[in-house]
């Protein structure tokens, strides 16, 4: 087996109501230092984590949504969002934060980190993973 494993973080829970989304993100940030192949999947209520316009000023909790935009700086730039989960919630890609990263292999061109994929495509991506972390 090669030294680099494929890690998938599977996010299926909405932010704020429970701590899972935030503590999953904390693992992603720490895990980024280990130079593994990292992907994130947002499925079911997990898609709500990426919705733009989050404002926690009136609930007394920290708004951690800006952290998703910092992921690109950690070479975490494969954020797969399941299309069916978006549609089931009346959302489109336009409702999500415009997350980007700079591609060092392409003269640091700015590229989108979010990739909306169908269930079938996501099933294939998930099938390739070595380690799945879900919280």
């Amino acid at each position: 087996m090669s030294d680099i494993k494929k890690f998938l973080y599977l996010n299926r829970k909405a932010p704020y109501g429970t701590i899972y989304a935030l503590e999953s993100l904390e693992v992603v940030l720490i895990g980024a230092a280990f130079e593994q192949d990292v992907s994130l999947a947002f499925v079911d209520d997990g898609v709500y984590q990426l919705v733009k316009g989050q404002d926690t000023s009136e609930i007394g909790m920290k708004n951690f949504s800006p952290t998703y935009n910092a992921l690109g700086d950690y070479d975490v730039n494969k954020l797969y969002v399941e299309k069916e989960s978006l549609e089931a919630r009346g959302l489109t890609e336009d409702d999500l934060m415009p997350l980007t990263y700079e591609d060092e292999d392409d003269d640091w061109a700015e590229k989108p980190s979010i990739r909306v994929v169908s269930s079938a495509e996501l099933a294939d991506i998930m099938d390739e993973q070595d380690v799945v972390l879900a919280f």
Partner: protein
Amino acid sequence: MSKLHTVNKSPFEKNSLDACIRLAKEGGAVLLFEDGVYGATKGTVISDKVTAAMKGLTFYVLGPDMKARGIRDDQLLDGVKVVDYGGFVDLVADHDNVQPWL
């Protein structure tokens, strides 16, 4: 690669089993444990869905969790296999990795 999917939620309360069936690749296995065992029973609103999923996935149920909840073998959907904790360990070892549906 062949995956072991684990589902520990009642399908009548959470959509974990739904998501698992939607995103699991053919040839994988699904272990229902804790409250997930209710998904293995006959005559429910999701029985047909689970039975249909059995065409591509092998379903297992954790016997100790079933027994704790008063579920008898004859209440299980045809084709569901019962394992104990040792069997759970074997399933983990026999598949390429474990995909939890929490």
